[in-house]
């Protein structure tokens, strides 16, 4: 009946007017994303060109990629608001009322597990642990390779339980604080327990980072909408704090699951040792277990040892060696095809679960089915364009900056400006003494401004031809002191974290939702700025850990204890916003840039793995948002005090207050 009415009431609009409406609609959404991406793009380009003095390679492709990121984000965000979030909220509204508690629990578990498998974070975790060596960190290596399904499985169970816990919290209007005061000390305790054993100590960073990356750009808005729906139907407590919290659970419970897995598996793995021990015949059974089988062990040996050593240990090598674990596992026939498959995998399973529950379990009808279908198509197109653009544009730019970052503290060569000097004879060389007594050699060369002394390296001198290959060197950007170079890098990653967070789609979705439920009294821009500063600080701390080899567990303990103390004295609303923000910060824009910078710095700094950046980037926004809550409260109290000075009774304090 409704459809026929709709048909009868349809208004016909001239074609030109339709085009004008569509153009205005698209322009507004594109402009929003241009504003979001402009800062990080301009920053990376300017930093590379001006500070690091390195040219931007492949400029045309990067520009095309950034255009694709902008279009992709516009499509994806629109898809979220048209389809994913309304579906999630409708499920939250309908399911508790029309289905039993058991169905709700099963649905939540399935949703959580589907979300994890739909947006697998294992790729990111593998990249972070790319430098992992099986003899130094056997358990970590196994979890990232042969045991990856265990890792993903435990994370999926953690996210599933998190959705159940979040939905129950929304229904019963439970406070988030008791959970935090139990879960975070438990996490820290488990981390401390794991750190006592060399075998399980290696997975602490992995566990904490897995908590940060489990919730992707589709899952976060979905579970937030679901929580708000359940909170609305329950109607207990305040809608702002009641609807949030699922993301917090989804960030904490996977860490607990992975740490438990590590602690339980550690006794069954060998202690860290040397490469020779690892490949020795006496430890073959253990080594095969770590590598994932005999063939994998042979391939590993072929990669790490000389052919003679491999032949001596395993006999003649026949098959081609496998690629390193951090390299791309396979090169698809078409990049676009692979990205399209990923986009389908990220969106369709979740949409299927939601539609199945709504249409089959609850037997509800979709009020705007065409809009939902269009939203799903937008989401897939958006994710495809966005992934392509990130791969070709922003990540590529980030990679170039990451590679150039060591210029901040070390002398680097410019092979692209190599000069070949001919007819060079030994007598031309000039020798000079260094303070330590060693001798440095220089080659005087004629230049327009007079003679110039070029450092002489014997390995680049061909005596027979009399040719010397001179590669110019670039002095450290921050001067001779490596410390100031490190400081420059930390400033770089701080601003990069701020810029990347501002463009994160999940955080934008959270900001829009918050603005909606608080009728604009908590501004989206305020949330994004506060979280961005937190992420930037966290990334600086995380990279500081890599550069200065700070221990991870004390850093996590200190920051999380600070967050808990601030939580104790904060309101419930600010607490839920702060802890949920932590879960949404590490999204598809921040993570590739973390990888890019992490690999660039980590490889030069010679660290075994670059874990910990994400966990630090997750905890610092909690602190920054909680601190912002105090500023808001203080400002509001001052206004009340100013106005009601002399009145007998000011407005009573209330926990559920959110203002900006």
């Amino acid at each position: 009946m409704a459809d026929s009415m709709q048909k009868g009431l349809t208004v016909h609009i001239p074609f030109r007017r339709k085009c004008s409406l569509i153009w205005m609609y698209a322009k507004e959404r594109l402009a929003r994303q241009v504003r979001a991406v402009a800062f990080i793009t301009a920053y990376l380009a300017v930093f590379q060109l001006v500070v690091l003095r390195a040219p931007i390679e492949d400029f045309a492709h990067i520009a095309l990629g950034i255009l694709a990121v902008v279009c992709g984000l516009a499509f994806f965000m629109e898809g979220l608001f048209l389809a994913i979030m309304p579906l999630g909220e409708r499920c939250g509204l309908r399911l508790p009322a029309r289905a039993g508690l058991g169905v709700l629990v099963v649905f939540s578990v399935i949703l959580g597990i589907t979300a994890t498998f739909a947006e697998p974070a294992i790729g990111f975790l593998k990249a972070q642990g790319s430098a992992t060596l099986p003899w130094r960190t056997p358990l970590l290596y196994w979890l990232l390779n042969a045991g990856a399904s265990w890792l993903v499985g435990m994370v999926a169970v953690g996210v599933g339980l998190a959705v159940v816990a979040g939905v129950f919290r929304a229904m019963k209007a439970w406070s988030l604080k008791p959970f935090l005061f139990i879960a975070i000390p438990l996490l820290l305790g488990l981390s401390w327990w794991a750190s006592r054993d060399l075998r399980s100590a290696s997975i602490i960073g992995l566990a904490w980072d897995s908590g940060g990356v489990t919730t992707g750009p589709v899952t976060v808005p979905l579970v937030i909408a679901l929580g708000l729906g359940v909170s609305r139907i329950a109607g207990r407590g305040d809608e702002t704090s009641g609807g949030l919290g699922v993301v917090t659970f989804a960030s904490a419970l996977p860490v607990i699951m992975v740490l438990l897995l590590g602690v339980l598996l550690a006794p069954h793995f060998p202690m860290p040792g040397t490469m020779e021990e690892f490949f020795s015949p006496e430890r073959q059974a253990f080594s095969e277990q770590v590598a994932g089988g005999e063939d994998e062990l042979r391939a590993l040996a072929a990669r790490e040892m000389t052919p003679e050593q491999v032949a001596q240990r395993f006999g003649p090598v026949q098959e081609a060696p496998l690629s390193r674990p951090h390299q791309r596992v396979q090169v698809p026939h078409s990049v676009m095809r692979a990205l399209l498959i990923n986009a389908f995998k990220a969106i369709l399973p979740l949409a299927f679960v939601l539609l199945f529950v709504l249409l089959v379990v609850v037997r509800d009808r979709l009020p705007h089915a065409d809009e939902v279908a269009l939203g799903l198509v937008f989401s897939i197109i958006g994710m495809l364009l966005f992934s392509y653009g990130m791969d070709r544009g922003l990540s590529s730019l980030g990679n170039q900056s990451g590679r150039a970052l060591p210029r901040a503290w070390e002398v680097t060569e410019r092979p692209d400006k190599e000069v070949l000097y001919q007819n060079i004879q030994e007598p031309l060389l000039i020798r000079a003494a260094r303070p330590d007594g060693s001798v440095a050699e220089y080659l005087p060369m004629a230049a327009q401004s007079g003679p110039r002394f070029v450092p002489f390296h014997r390995d680049r001198y061909d005596v027979t031809k009399g040719e010397y290959r001179y590669v110019p060197e670039v002095q450290p950007v921050a001067g001779d002191e490596a410390f100031w170079g490190y400081v420059l890098v930390l400033v770089f990653v701080f601003v990069m974290g701020v810029g990347a967070t501002m463009a994160e789609p999940s955080l934008n979705a959270l900001g829009v939702t918050l603005e909606e439920v608080t009728t604009g009294t908590y501004k989206r821009s305020f949330l994004i700025c506060t979280v961005a500063v937190g992420v930037g600080s966290g990334m600086a701390l995380g990279f500081g850990r890599i550069l200065f080899a700070w221990p991870l567990v004390p850093m996590l303990t200190g920051t999380y204890l600070t967050a808990l103390v601030l939580t104790w004295i904060s309101t419930e609303d600010i607490t839920t916003i702060a802890w949920d923000s932590a879960g949404v910060t590490t999204g598809p824009i921040t993570v590739p840039l973390v990888i890019a910078a992490g690999l660039g710095i980590g490889q030069r700094a010679g660290v075994a793995e670059a874990f910990g950046v994400v966990s630090m980037a997750s905890v610092m926004p909690i602190i920054s948002v909680l601190l912002s809550g105090f500023i808001i409260s203080a400002r509001r109290s001052r206004l009340d005090r100013d106005y009601s000075a002399g009145q007998a009774e000011a407005l009573p304090p209330k926990n559920q207050e959110v203002q900006s």
Binding site: L93, I233, L374, L639, S644
Partner: protein, 383 residues
Amino acid sequence: MKRLEASRITCIADIRLSERIEAEVDRMGLLETYSERGKQVALKARAAWLPFGRRSSMVESPCEVFRFYVPREYERAAMVRLAGAADLFLPGRGSVCAQDAVLMGEDLRFWEESNLCSAPPDWVLESRLQTAPYDLIFCIVQRGRGGELARTMLEMGLGAPVISYGEGMGLRDRLGLLRITIPQEKELFRFLAPSADSDLVVDVAVRTAGLNQAGQGFLSRTPVRALAVNTQMNLDRRRHVASMEQVISTLDQLRGSTDWRRISAAARRHHAARPPEREGMVRFSLVCESGTGGPTVQAAMEVGARGATLSRLSRRMKESLDGPGPEEAAMASCARECCELIVTPAVARRLEETVIKSDLFEKPANGFVEIAPVHDAVTYAGG
């Protein structure tokens, strides 16, 4: 189908006072309350570093807009109790007003006669509290335009407006999939203006929000009886023992009306120059479970309604009420939506029949309808 004549009480209170309001509603013996989240706005002077730019900023504070229904004879007592419980007579806390309404539905249990309590708290000097004639100006504008309108109202010095969020329904839903190009997010602007000044306020609001242009919004004016009105228009430091708002409030009480503070003697002359407006209209509020009002609104469009505004409500039931079993659990959903339609008397008769025939009162909507007179309405009339 039951039909019930009642008074609708609208109480706007700072969010920090919500618990007091809810507790008082429970003590009064009311069974159901509906609320929506909003924000009260006020001006605060700010230092100007540059010669240009505004010298004041708008400060928003979250509030809750409660609505509930009482027998007409309890109207004043209910308002006095609420205003007393939350101290709404102090500027900045909130407002409370009442209007006549007719309710239609299958299960209209808003109060229990035996438990209704009308006695005000001991300390409230009830005899000195009088209601004053006000007009509730309700305006629907595009999201983001409410702030400008609020600033204008604050600068007129008549009171503090309240803004909440809603969605527009109507023309947009007739465009097919092209509807996504038109934002449905609206701002719902509520302003209590003294009746003596409401003509001028309407005139200014129409011009500020451009309501006489196509697609800019809609304004309606409903006569109400207000007991307490939030007059806190600025948050600057107080320099005297009583604020100007308190002085005005006291004079209102002494003079027995707000007519003495009419800001323009020429206000009524504006009436003739106003854009097309319709007098003697009727407001239909369809309150039902969230997400179920769409078909009824579509049916209303077919019989002549031009548009509707949807806002999200939260239903709160008295805790000691039913101990709901599985069957009642569905009925006990707290997520409600309110679709408001303002129509001419001719359309109202057809709309009433349409609503009765619709499934609004049955599961899963479990709704009811509130019908109330509207003084007049202003929107773009085409041409």
